[in-house]
Symmetry: D3
Subunit: 327 residues, 6 copies
């Protein structure tokens, strides 16, 4: 009897399920509102955990039908990022210990007034909170808030999701790189060993996710150029010299890696541009490459569009597949 209950309970979860224990045992040695404010960047900031969670979560919807394996990966990492968001929020909340209690003592402002008059101990928590972020004491009541270290509310324009995994995964590589760097910067601003541990954990998970996204991108071939269409051979190779004395390097001379072509450095763009009527007159020998491109575009279009179309159900669409539970 109890066994059956256990088995049921084992699956006792709908979509998102929450457990009170954190993925990482976040601890804080002492309150520090200034660091709490800095840490808001990873709660409600442009490169923070909410941005990451919502980006992968949003991308996952489009990926589900044609790419169920990538859907799994995106949803799992999104879920982990929500857990990280909770770790960051819990740490901020612990760093603000004392603020809410002091605010609740609403009838007595003597302590704060000593602060405002410069007569209080500098480590006064309300003084520190007020200095770090005026909204900590007036709006959030000493709590965490989905805004960045300068009070900008988190905004979904931080989220990139464009319906193509060769693009989305690259967006994710960039997002993870920025998030990693921000944790690196943050670690310089606290000497609390517990927080160091937490940040080291969170920073490293961004590296792990980076490598996961990279592997997923490599498992899609070809994945360049991103999307479907090939580059136009008429405009691909030129690097225009747009200022005097440009330093030369592998980004403007030699081979274009993986494209079997070389950079053409246009020292004198105007001649090319005027002689070609603004690049619209092209040499005859472009006809073959253009035809090749057109053929390739059609092939890729067929492959890519069928990949999606075949995966989509006919008739009524249903997101989940419910299996009967034969107990």
């Amino acid at each position: 009897m109890r066994l059956v209950v256990l088995i049921h309970t084992l699956k006792n979860q709908i979509m998102f399920h929450h457990v009170k224990d954190l993925q990482f045992n976040a601890r804080v040695s002492r309150p520090d509102p200034r660091f709490a404010n800095l840490l808001l960047e990873q709660f409600g900031g442009e490169n923070g955990e909410l941005a990451a969670a919502m980006q992968y979560f949003t991308q996952a919807f489009g990926a589900k039908a044609p790419h169920p394996d990538k859907y799994d990966m995106l949803m799992d990492i999104a879920t982990e990022e929500f857990s990280h968001l909770e770790i960051v929020g819990a740490t901020i909340q612990m760093l603000l210990k004392g603020v809410n209690g002091e605010l609740k003592n609403a009838a007595d402002s003597s302590e704060i007034m000593q602060v405002m008059n410069g007569k209080a101990a500098k480590e006064n928590i309300i003084h520190e909170a007020l200095t770090a972020n005026p909204q900590f004491v007036v709006i959030t009541g000493g709590g965490v808030t989905p805004r960045n270290s300068q009070g900008i509310p988190w905004c979904a324009s931080y989220v990139n999701s464009n319906g193509d995994l060769t693009v989305d995964l690259r967006s994710n590589l960039a997002s993870e790189s920025r998030a990693k760097l921000v944790y690196e910067h943050l670690m310089k601003f606290t000497d609390d060993p517990y927080i160091h541990e937490t940040l080291s954990f969170l920073m490293t998970r961004e590296v792990t996710h980076y490598k996961m996204f990279e592997a997923a991108l490599e498992s899609i071939q070809p994945n360049f150029p991103p999307g479907v269409l090939a580059a136009d051979p008429r405009y691909l190779q030129q690097v225009y010299n747009l200022s005097e004395g440009t330093v030369r390097g592998p980004w403007n001379e030699g081979e274009i890696k993986g494209m079997d072509k070389d950079f053409i450095y246009v020292e004198d763009p105007i001649t090319t541009i005027r002689q070609t009527e603004g690049l619209t007159e092209q040499p005859k020998d472009m006809e073959k490459p253009l035809a090749d491109k057109e053929k390739l575009d059609k092939e890729m279009s067929k492959v890519k569009s069928e990949e999606v179309r075949k995966a989509e159900p006919k008739g009524v669409a249903q997101w989940s597949t419910y299996e009967s539970i034969g107990v």
Copy 2:
């Protein structure tokens, strides 16, 4: 042996856990980009599921130490709202079936051009998507996006969290009311019976959450005025006549419910205001009520601030309590 594994697996989840089956079996009879666009209001709109989930999630952090029971409730409802967010997203994605596949057919725009020239069948999915929301075809690649029906990115200024449950729970009653109404409006714009079922489920859950928040608010006594301080007896009862011929009703005459006082309708505000030098000269008989208020404020301050302070740990703060698993 297997039992032990089951028991472990039973707890096999860290903070947020994701299950592929939705809480509600979302289905869609046929694509409908216009309704997909309307439904964005509940994905990335001001009264939508993300707004609700993030509001309760954010409020929960501050509630955890002093009010662990309310923390549980807030986190559970937040978790359910994340699940609803997924249901809404899944429905939108299914309503956009066909768009991504058509976009992947990048080399061929003949079908779209028929649309653009008004020569295509009106039910063409790309035509409908383009008309409903230009970003569906240019930016999101036929996928869901955390913006509202007019393309405004979701913004954390939709989230209210102020570190006081008598305020936060009232914010939640308002949020649930708005969300309920939006679902009601949305139901008028589709005759797909599957979507009707889904929306009826989601609309009703807002009602349930409303009643849960209401019960939680009532379990806190006193809960009015919100916060700690009492109303100032000098300014509480007046209702100023600020236009001619104001209709009278229970909101400007008779008893102020639950406050043991009556509304005082100031027919002629200027006399009061000028005779009192802008309300700063008050009758003597206010001395007693003011003293009462001051006393009450101090008592409430003591109760409320101690409630928070006592719940906060001394020394190192730790969010979770890890129990050893003695299997």
Copy 3:
């Protein structure tokens, strides 16, 4: 003769009229740019007076035809909030006394440079203004600005207006609760007795408005659920256990107040959900409640829609009714 003039002049006002005397005699003992910055929350912040004024003003338009009594109340309170906005702005301006004059002394920066080099008296007004809010000295010229304490411009997404009084009035209850709490917090950060008086006045008016909105909501019956449609009986009563060890309370057990039903605590959601194919298979005994709901929905739809339709004029619409002045 003069009497007639008086009577005319008595009505001598068009829509909004402005009087130079404030509703409350706002005074300030001494400049304090830091408090000025905090107080911006109630000028250009999310819970401030502009937000309140614009919310009730916007709601009033839709209410006018079908609910002229509530229109009066909304417009009167909106008008009072505009007056409060002026009181808050006047206080901020007085708190910044000295800044503009110093900025106008544009040719001489010696005093400021002493500040910048840390050699000036700490109470230097420019130093305080610069520290409190860099825009006070560079952008606003020592004046008030419709932004919050962190410089975020006021944004109309703070305004909720949804065309249904049972929803709008609940939004207002939440708005007034938040505004009250913010004044309570602010009062801790100044010991200027004049400002204390002003804030006590403003805080209390939020309480009064709360009670007015509450009475207005109660005067509408039924007012729950908000909007028109009843809750779906299939999904109303369940509370899902979404984490382990959820604390029980009146929000997840016992009676659902005012709905003649009990909460059903779903300890094991997955069994319910999977056995019902994602809640889509329901027991037979739901047929009757569903039919009841449908009937009720139709009745309420008729009542509510006729209420609005009957109040709307046929033919040419005219907002005001001009009465001839037969003098």
Copy 4:
């Protein structure tokens, strides 16, 4: 006795007072959701009435002490703009007649479904509202909203207020110009003669305000350059030729009006710039003009800063002056 009351009532108003009759008798011949949506530009748009009202209102605070006459003007025009905001809102509401009533008929979506399926009469009001602005039918409930024609919430970054009347009044001239043009554009999109009248009134008031601000600016002498400091004679006269074949006109040749100097057209900027080490080496004959400028700057600083400082009260600041009412 009654006379006394009348006299009192005559002043019966606190700060803002509202009268139900509009300044202009706004009327609407028939509903037109599309024009309602366009008209939102003047309600919640960047050049609309709220932007104007809030701009002049915000500017007025800083002007009050040193420039009570300009304060009066700014407050009066702000007050009129609030009245215009109400006229615009009333017109939009009348243009949406029928939408709210239809939404309240929540149980019946048959009519809308005919629309969604293309089978309804095109003049169906819900169809028009949905097409014009999806939020009209899902969020605002057929009411006005402080957003623009594309759903962007009104934002206080539209407001310019910089603590200097020679700047603020110029900002106002630009604001009035833009508002006038928007009304001109709007008038092309309706043939309702009542709305034409209303728009003609509103457009013309912008012209009147323009002339008022212009006269106020002229009454301040000198008013150029705006602010306090004179132009630096070393950099004032040059016009740099930054592209080939620049057309010459009074903006780059001849007299600089009112400055007693001529434009110097720098045909070959690089010679000047390199020969002067990036303009840092200047001819000796600049010494005198520079000394003149320095002297002028000091004089103007003295005049302008004293103007402000002298107007500010010593000691306790009080915004209003309450006169006793000797009845």
Copy 5:
């Protein structure tokens, strides 16, 4: 031979061309993160160089066909503003010297910890940067960023471009006035003589641009009212007395300059408004002026619309005119 090359190189530039030398030789004596933060107002702030550059650049597109001379001016000034943007950015970057290097020393936070514990020298650059702007040390890595001094990202709603030069040029006069004032304010907050030189240069260029835009506006006749339509004679002259005791001045009495009419001061607006049924009943003698206005409107419409239409090419539109290079 070389000559030919020179001539080609002379034109060796496509649209925008970049030169490493700045227009003004920006220098900085020593790092100063606080001033760097203030200076962000002119990089990413509402009145800064990016706002100016993008405003004139955007306006230029519409001006090109009908007003090629004004197009030249707008594009040239836009180009100069981009150069100024670079000067401001370079100055900010130099003011942040040391921050990036310290952040790269990621393994060692000892120095910063001394700061955080209040034990470090106050001139520590990281301490100053952190205090001035938390994002300098966490997000931008010690670099410039297109946000203002409070972290608000630059936003295109700062840009006004309305397709009519009599409006756009007035917007520009206001923009230049504000930008000039901000530079004036900024100059008070640094005593670095190099930066003073740079700011004096930039401030003065705003004055120059003001005079250029003013001359351009005067070269268009008539330019008032802005746009095409004349003011409505029924509503133009009234100034409404909306508060008691309004100060009289040239903005509400005497001649309306340039319009051959006088202000009419309406001491008692309600009589006018009620007697005219909300201004809709007008005296007979308005017939002639109204007819005149209508005639003028038609004439101006013809002139202005033909001006644009005639300038637009028939058939295929091409932006540039490529001339063959016959060398």
Copy 6:
């Protein structure tokens, strides 16, 4: 003599220089306001040319001292993106031909009224413009605007610049990928062969820039992890199974490419997490890897911070190096 002039003129440019001819000969066959609106995504949208230009421009400031070669590349590509911005703007303007001229015909709305009443030819340009984007006819006057296809003003939160090239260049790879995809999508929505040519050019340049940034990133070694600090060996390898039945692939099994380690798939996270007290108890054999990491972190910190510090000038900082022109 003329030669000298030529040589001077050759360098006749300051910072940004503008040439009237476009880099690409943008042409348009016929007006098409709907496509103009879609194309706004690449003018004022999140992945458009302004976003790209401002991102590389902003990044360039921090790169200049330590990485002059990358500074050149970033500035050159930024400059080219400004040129592309002009191409896009010019195309949009040409697509809107006729709108401004029609608006200038302000006195006559007969044509538009035919449109509004559904009686006009569908190809009426005002009708198309109004339908595509209401602001085209009310706000922009038929011109281009720095907003996206849904009217959201361009916002600097689209710009990523973090003071580390290993991060910034990855941000750029993502930006170019998204921009390429958006052009690909856009190409489906026009059959104008001229626009196809232009879009093919612009799309391909994104591919070229991608390869340039990729080569630049590879020229920095090591470049992973981005930033300075190594990954924490305790948390790097784990992939947590956060849902049931996760599909396995190279992103969660086998080698972590380039890190000489394997993914560790944690089938049962809770055991690990609880047994390690939330990952804080680690096996002894982590001591050596942790010591290695610490050593590596210090080395990298030294290398990276010195790279920056050595490149920064002592004393007065000067951005440009002016060479005397010895002519």
